[in-house]
Symmetry: C2
Subunit: 205 residues, 2 copies
């Protein structure tokens, strides 16, 4: 099965702009992408990157400068079975990805927090994506409309896309890969002093 | 195996105070508790409620007015194998709970967002809880200290405790029980108009 990891090269992770510089966001997004690729390979898959511009990375790269929906749908038009895993899922262990790819169903969805679709596997010729809005609900509807058997993977790791500062808490608690190390080396640590756990940055330590 | 659902009777769900009245919070907390009890029963378990005061509910009730940590540890002192599932997990389906209770390990932990422990199963005589702070990390440490074999259940449904308004988004998207119905009947619905999905309340519709 073809497996792709979409990656937007320009200005990644803008919602982390309050705590990371643009150069840091580039670097962090890249490390997360590499974690995802490594976990996919450890799960026995052979991913390639669907990038909006050429990038130098140790994986096959397909460049498509369009936005996510038309770029992924162009690959679905090829009619192959396809797996798509987002690049900002550094908590995605091989075991979690294995559950996604081993799940039965013609359309297997891994929802993200707040209604996103963090990963899916399609084994139906008519399935197409629409990443706008609450894409998880839209993808459920699309799957039902085409009569595809659907399953949903219940995974905290796959539901946790790293978009906002509060998501970094999850990465520091559960992360086992290079992205968690990158964060710690950048000075981030858990702040357990308040009512809710947050992250703080201690520079120059 | 004994299975308990802790329930704080006084002033539940204070973080929902910006969108629900105190009476509504009582009612909503109670519906969530009932959803959890029903899912546990559907998973073949026989839960009782560990409440801070007497309540009238269709389940056995043990009253312990102490806070969560000493109350749960008093039950662990009895030495039995024990499962503990929080009352604010209305997304906990029988299938998700089955994964928790079927997982191997002397201590099985289901982490919540931001480092909580939303559910656990203990099959080791020395395991004790400490719910203060990032209890998931503390429970991992405790389990390691006593030499217990640990496993962690990777579940979005079990990780989603309903504490804050943003959590209601998850309930409206994924909820299948009475809590989701309660929310909808109270006028809450998804607002998909903005950049991020939120909930809005339309009263009197």
């Amino acid at each position: 099965m073809r497996v792709i990891v979409p990656y937007a090269v320009e200005s990644p992770k803008t919602r982390l702009g309050s705590i990371l510089t643009p150069a840091e966001r580039d670097s962090f997004a890249r490390v997360m992408l590499e974690d995802v690729l490594e976990s996919l390979r450890a799960a026995g898959l052979d991913p390639d990157v669907l990038a909006t511009a050429p990038i130098d990375i140790d994986a096959p790269v397909t460049v498509d400068e369009r936005s996510l929906t038309p770029a992924v749908n162009a690959i679905l038009d090829d009619g192959d079975r396809l797996g798509v895993v987002m690049a900002d899922l550094p908590l995605a262990t091989p075991a979690a990805l294995d559950r996604l790819f081993q799940a039965s169903g013609e359309v297997v969805l891994a929802p993200g927090r707040a209604g996103g679709t963090n990963a899916f596997v399609a084994r139906h010729p008519s399935f197409r994506v629409d990443y706008h809005g609450t894409s998880f609900l839209d993808h459920l509807s699309i799957a039902h409309e085409i009569g595809a058997a659907v399953s949903v993977v219940d995974s905290h790791r796959l539901s946790t896309d790293i978009d906002e500062p509060s998501d970094l808490v999850e990465l520091l608690i559960h992360g086992e890969g290079a992205s968690a190390t990158w964060l710690r080396e950048a000075g981030f640590q858990l702040d357990r002093s308040g009512d809710r756990v947050t992250v703080v940055r201690e520079n120059g330590e």
